[in-house]
Amino acid sequence: MSHEKNVCICRCEEVTEGEILRAIEEGARTVKGIKIRTQATMGLCQGRTCRRLIVNILSKHVDINDISKLEIGIRVPVRTIKIKNFIYDEGKGYE
């Protein structure tokens, strides 16, 4: 329902609706397919903001009812974590 093709869909990677539609023309049928062609959802927030918009755009081309078919690519960790957080040892503190 956005009215122009160069409207921003993925804020972190600056991917526009036009680029996403072009990826779909090139054969992308899943969120991962769009990610591979446009880098959408690969940014710092990992798709938390744009994933739903991408699914909305996809819904005009693909049946989006079955989430498992969309390869929406949510992975651990769902919050950014520092490497340092893993290096704490009960006994010795931070290595």
């Binding site: 009215h3 739903r52 989006i64 009812n65 989430i67 949510i74 992975r75 651990v76 520092k82 340092k84």
Partner: protein, 508 residues
């Protein structure tokens, strides 16, 4: 790097919002060891930025402000010995029911026999040209910034979206002193409950239905916005553009469940647009397709916080039952009671059935003396007005989504019900206050508070100034928690048209 011993808890609740806290309380009541993890530095989730009074049933703290409900839930959880870990960011749920989280810069894990995911919802982003300019913010973020951090995101704000969030946040922005330049709604009519909308209309905020934001304009930040009318299939009608002088756009176009944790835990989903999109599939015990993992609150479908609390209670009870802490029929009894409340809250024959205004007194009653006027005609799961009236003059009954009925002969005009209505939809009108003037008592939650005896501009339901008025009395009792009752003398001809005093502009 020896093997690490992972702590255990019978029930691990992720998210200390309304749903999570209620789930923890119910599970703990049954005797389970319960640990609640929340990533914020204060529990209560969205409750703590909800400064408005909540709908809901009288028994369940209805009529209390969101953060008061949060404080009560915390007190109860504390008394029961529920352990709450704040600043604990859950980053993953792993195969063996292990929850990984980060706290004070250290990664830890806890194994739960049962896991209740209550991570709530997240704002829908809305793509439009200029939508990434600084000054375009989500309504939840605006609410946090204003009600918790007490900083205004801008002075002249355009609200995009007229759902309950959009309308309530507009009201809260005005309470904090910002000017809401208008509300834009793509649909043909406003989506929020009418009682919330009426608060905005009588404050004179223009409502642009069948309108969308065409573009936010500004060099490096928001300096204005262009809105435009749309036809039925949301296409912009050329030439209908209108420039608005705003410095902030607040996006309130709905929420969607935060499905990240249920997704990586392997839960199955179904797609229900009315509930916000993808929802984990769950059974009548709120258990998902993964054994031992439950969901409650907005993560299980976007609804009101009062419904989230009941879903939390249901999940907590069912969870405890599955751990064998309740015998079967106690568990069934408790669950049946919660399900009854949930059904009552959700009974909406047709969500848009507008009953005839059953709260309006007849003309003869107006003549006889002061009487309450209840302008609430929608099916809202809410009945604090019923319990507020000691004379039994207000009846909601079962289910609590029935609009209130006024028994005008029983109403003594005491006005106790006015501050109790979460929708601020109850007024007291004394038509024959004097031979030429009437008296209206109305709820008031803005600053500055007018002086007693002072002259003010009176507004009608659409915020238009229709007469002058004199402030007779201002009541501000502690138990009304910030809602003042203003008594104002007005010309008798407008006895049933005036609904408040001018908020915006130079009136006062």
């Amino acid at each position: 790097m020896g093997e690490e011993i992972i702590k255990k808890s019978q029930v691990v609740v992720i998210g200390a919002g309304p749903a999570g806290l209620c789930a923890a309380i119910e599970a703990r009541k049954a005797g389970a060891t319960v640990l609640v993890l929340d990533e914020n530095d204060r529990p209560g989730g969205q409750l703590f930025k909800q400064i408005h009074k909540f709908f809901g049933s009288g028994k369940h703290w209805a009529g209390l402000r969101g953060f008061r409900i949060g404080e009560n839930l915390l007190k109860e959880a504390g008394q029961l010995g529920v352990k709450i870990l704040l600043n604990a960011e859950v980053y993953g749920i792993f195969d063996d029911m292990t929850v990984g989280y980060i706290r004070n810069g250290v990664e830890k894990a806890i194994k739960g026999e049962r896991i209740i995911i209550a991570t709530g919802g997240i704002e829908n982003a809305l793509p439009f040209p200029g939508g990434t300019l600084p000054g375009v913010m989500g309504a939840g973020g605006v609410q946090t910034m204003v009600n918790i951090h007490r900083v205004l995101p801008g002075k002249k704000i355009l609200m995009v979206g007229s759902g309950n969030v959009g309308v309530i946040v507009s009201y809260q922005l005005m309470q904090a002193g910002a000017e809401v330049v208008g509300i834009v709604e793509a649909a043909g009519r406003v989506r929020a409950y009418e009682v919330h909308l009426n608060k905005i209309k009588r404050a004179g905020v223009p409502i642009y239905t069948s309108h969308v934001v065409k573009e936010a304009i500004g060099k490096d930040e928001v300096e204005g916005a262009i809105i435009a009318r749309v036809d039925d299939n949301l296409n912009i009608i050329e030439g209908s553009e209108k420039h608005l002088d705003v410095d902030c756009l607040c996006i309130a176009v709905g929420l969607n469940p935060q499905i990240e944790l249920p997704y990586i835990a392997g839960c199955k989903f179904s797609y229900i647009p009315e509930r916000g999109g993808y929802i984990p599939v769950f059974d009548e015990n709120m258990e998902t397709s993964v054994k031992g993992i439950y969901v409650a609150g907005d993560v299980a479908g976007i609804e009101e916080a009062s419904i989230a609390m009941e879903e939390g209670r249901l999940a907590g009870i069912a969870c405890a039952g599955s751990l064998g802490l309740y015998d079967k029929e106690t568990e069934e009894k408790l669950k049946k009671e919660v399900k009854k409340i949930l059904r009552a809250m959700r009974t909406k024959h047709d969500s848009r059935i507008i009953h005839s205004l059953t709260g309006i007194p007849s003309n003869d009653r107006f003549e006889k003396g002061p009487v309450a006027v209840i302008e609430c005609k929608e099916e809202i799961p809410c009945n604090p007005c019923e319990s507020a009236c000691v004379f039994g003059a207000i009846k909601v009954g079962e289910p609590i989504t029935n609009p209130p009925v006024l028994f005008e002969e029983k109403c003594t005009g005491c006005g106790r019900c006015i501050p109790k209505c979460p929708g601020m939809a109850i007024f007291l009108i004394h038509k024959n206050y004097t031979d030429k003037t009437s008296l209206i008592k109305f709820p008031y939650e803005y600053l500055p508070v007018p002086e007693k005896g002072g002259l003010v501009s009176c507004v009608n339901r659409n915020g238009e100034i229709i007469s002058r008025g004199r402030i007779i009395d201002i009541k501000a009792s502690k138990k009304d928690d910030g809602t003042k009752i203003i008594a104002m003398e007005i010309p008798k001809e407008y006895f049933n048209d005036v609904r408040g005093i001018q908020i915006r502009g130079d009136g006062i």
